[in-house]
């Protein structure tokens, strides 16, 4: 659109990528929303054309309106406990699969270490989830109902089932480690625990898969733009992350002669996660929603996570020869997974606090539908 003869002197606009960095305030000279502390300590994206501190640009890049730059949707009120749970729960889930594999292939140390890791992870997970509740003393209300429309309810039951099996396999390991009397009630209990070892191990592996994957649905089934729009890629990011993190933990804990399968598991996880994460960013770029995953605190965590994933993956290739290399790459992989979870959660919350990520994609898809002549499903009607 040319509005002035001087426009011809401007450099050509970048093709393809649409960047929206600003909005049209509801009022001429939009006012910063100081009361809610929306942009405490940093310059709000809104105040760039107002607030009286600077001169407003002559031609505002008016893409859409907003109500004083206030967020339309609300971010989930989750603190660091939830991304920490995503990481620890992923480690627990992957460890369950490693434990089952180690049990089948007779790798004693790997089995013991991964089972204990799984149990620790599941216990920490539960504690983190309870701690993040607004009313922690009511955590048992989660068990009032089974609700398939709620990924959190489904996840609660998956975690509970996994915890039950992990408890059984941990008891079995404890029975092996501690010398127990053959006779009497303790001996009977030890024999019972040994008898359920195999079914519990299978059950743990079967519950591990949904435990690693459901957390992606937990995030995607919200209106948080970045999470909802990455619903096709996020499950693969999260299972890949679970695989490489749990394998990384075993690279640290277990001697290298038993961690061959864990290294392969880690490499599959690394490849899966890198590909899925790349596709996630591509998809968000198409929707012009990639800013939160590329910039800001979330973006830098995700960049660091990628570097650590690649480094850990390359280190894993050498980890069969040196315990030091194994420990280093294991730590890198676990750190990468934690950073990925924190980065995804922070990017999502960032996308919910800025109305441009809500209004922009919604208006574009609305326009696309209108261009196709599809108007029956609009929330706005006339007559």
């Amino acid at each position: 659109m040319t509005t002035s003869p001087f426009d011809s002197y401007r450099p050509p606009e970048e093709g393809g990528r649409r960047r929206r960095s600003g909005v049209r305030g509801a009022v001429t000279g939009a006012v910063s929303d100081a009361s809610r502390g929306m942009a405490k300590g940093r310059t709000s994206w809104l105040s760039r054309d107002g607030g009286g501190r600077r001169e407003a640009p002559a031609v505002p890049d008016a893409e859409f309106s907003s109500y004083y730059g206030r967020a339309i949707i609300k971010p989930v009120p989750w603190k660091h406990e939830i991304p920490a749970y995503l990481f620890v729960g992923g480690v627990a889930a992957g460890s369950g699969i490693i434990a089952a594999g180690a049990a089948v292939t007779g790798r004693e140390l790997l089995r013991r270490n991964s089972r204990l890791t799984a149990m620790t992870g599941v216990a920490v997970s539960g504690a983190l989830l309870v701690a993040d509740l607004g009313r922690p003393e009511r955590f048992l209300n989660m068990m009032r109902t089974v609700k398939l429309t709620s990924p959190m309810s489904v996840g609660t039951w998956i975690l509970s089932g996994y915890a039950a099996f992990a408890g059984a396999t941990t008891a079995s390991e404890a029975a092996r480690m501690v010398p127990l009397p053959e006779r009497g009630p303790v001996g009977a209990l030890a024999r019972l625990v040994q008898a359920v070892d195999t079914p519990a191990s299978v059950g743990q592996a079967l519950f591990a898969a949904p435990l690693a994957a459901y957390t992606s649905v937990l995030l995607s089934d919200t209106v948080t733009p970045v999470w909802l729009e990455s619903r096709r890629e996020l499950p693969f990011v999260f299972v890949g992350s679970a695989a490489l993190a749990s394998a990384g933990v075993q690279l640290v804990l277990t001697p290298i002669d038993q961690t061959g399968p864990a290294r392969r598991f880690a490499l599959i996880g690394v490849v899966t996660e890198l590909i899925a994460m790349h596709r996630l960013e591509e998809h968000l770029t198409e929707l012009d929603l990639d800013e939160p995953v590329r910039t800001g605190a979330g973006g830098s965590k995700l960049r660091l996570a990628r570097a650590l994933t690649v480094a850990g993956g390359l280190g894993t290739l050498l980890a069969g020869r040196s315990r030091v290399a194994a420990v280093a790459s294991g730590l890198a992989l676990a750190g990468a997974s934690a950073l990925t979870r924190f980065g995804i959660v922070e990017a999502g919350i960032e996308s919910a606090t800025d109305p441009k990520y809500t209004v922009g994609p919604q208006k574009r898809r609305l326009e696309e539908r209108r261009d196709r002549g599809q108007v029956h499903d609009s929330v706005v009607t006339v007559r």
Binding site: A26, V31, D33, A34, S35, S65, S66, Y67, R70, I72, I73, K74, P75, P77, A93, I97, A100, G101, T105, D132, L133, G134, R135, P136, N141, M142, T145, K147, T149, S150, M152, A205, L206, P210, A213, Y214, S216, V217, T222, V223, R231, R232, P235, F236, F238, V239, A243, P261, R264, F265, Q362, K363, V375, D377, S378, V379, V380, T381, V382, R383
Partner: protein, 369 residues
């Protein structure tokens, strides 16, 4: 459509889907922002009746007369104030005309009131959108006095009636926002404890004594309505008690009052009938009548929000008449209930989970030494 498919998307009767047998008619609001005067009586009545605490310190936002900010745990009605220049009014009118030209769906039967068309001429802007008949001075009378001044070309209404006055240089949009009580409510779908439930009137209500404050509903609401009450809330009662801290809170459509055949506090107190309460079908019909009337009077920018049962949330229980694009009022332009995509999400996650098991099998059995 099957029972299960109906639960997540599309038009349906939410009370019956929730298992109510022989429910009463679905209730809802019709908020006509064209006659809102921004008195905030609805905010006050809501706070009073529901004994809601203060959100926090008393701050001035600098956003016109809106010092409430937005809907939240302790703010269940919120009056938005938007100040617009002539340019923005003109843009709003253009976008409204475009909606008509697009052939936006007509919800239900067309209102077609012959009585309305006879009262029509002349049309145009006074200083404010005209109130409905019987509730204020007739716009026709006001404008007929100016008829002599009519000489310029000020455009026409949708029907082609010439306008008699210019666009005002400034206008104030005021709109009372509230929980939408969606047909497909994201908050209700994702609640893991069953604290949120569908009432027999088709509304969505939180049981504060069941909610454990997981906060999932907050992220699932496409309108940013529901919120968890924080301990920064300030009591307004003598004993200093703030109820339900850490628990998700939102408009109940005065479930307690409805149970005693009373209308919600906000609707009862509204002095201009901008907030109307009743059976949702009646509210949608009233909204259609009103938007047709405004169009006929030349207010082409008038449009309905939430009256379409085919939209992303299956239609809202609270229907609005707006005078500009929804995002101007802080409403999403294309809200979608995330749970409508849930089957797809669980399928993808299932594939990923099976992949993880397969990866484990390959890792242990594939390269066995």
């Amino acid at each position: 459509m099957g029972y299960l498919a109906r639960q997540l998307a599309g038009r349906t009767d939410p009370a019956r889907d929730a298992g109510w047998e022989e429910p009463p008619s679905r209730k809802g609001f019709f908020t006509d922002t064209s006659i809102c005067i921004g008195c905030k009586a609805c905010e006050v009545a809501c706070k009073e009746w529901n004994a809601l605490p203060m959100d926090g310190d008393l701050d001035l936002t600098g956003n016109s007369y809106d010092n409430t900010g937005g809907l939240g745990a302790s703010t269940w009605r919120h009056v938005a104030f938007v100040e617009q220049s002539q340019e923005r009014i003109s843009a709003a009118r253009e976008s409204g005309r475009r909606l008509v030209d697009l052939g936006m769906p007509t919800v239900g039967s067309p209102p077609a009131s012959p009585e309305a068309s006879s009262r029509g001429v002349p049309a145009g802007y006074g200083t404010l959108p005209a109130p409905p008949e019987d509730h204020g001075p007739s716009l026709g009378e006001l404008l007929s006095q100016k008829e002599s001044a009519e000489n310029g070309d000020l455009g026409t209404t949708l029907e082609g009636t010439p306008m008699v006055g210019p666009l005002p240089e400034f206008r104030w949009l005021m709109a009372s926002d509230v929980c939408k009580h969606c047909t497909h409510a994201g908050c209700l779908d994702v609640c893991p404890t069953g604290a949120l439930f569908r009432s027999e009137q088709g509304t969505v209500v939180v049981q504060a004594d069941v909610c454990n404050g997981c906060g999932y509903c907050v992220g699932a609401c496409p309108f940013g309505v529901i919120e968890r009450r924080t301990d920064s809330s300030v009591s307004v009662t003598g004993d200093g008690h703030v109820p339900n801290v850490g628990v998700a809170q939102k408009c109940t459509l005065c479930y307690d009052r409805l149970s005693h055949d009373q209308e919600p506090a906000c609707a009862q107190t509204c002095p201009t009938t901008s907030i109307r309460f009743g059976a949702r079908d009646d509210m949608v019909a009233a909204a259609q009548d009103r938007v047709a009337q405004l169009h006929e009077q030349g207010f082409t920018e008038a449009r309905l929000y939430g009256a379409n049962d085919d939209d992303g949330v299956g239609g809202t229980g609270s229907v609005f008449l707006l005078l500009d694009e929804p995002e101007v009022y802080g409403l999403p332009p294309d809200p979608v209930c995330a749970t409508s995509k849930l089957p797809e999400m669980f399928r993808t996650a299932g594939v990923a989970g099976l992949g993880l098991l397969a990866a484990g099998a390959v890792a242990f059995l594939g390269g066995r030494r």
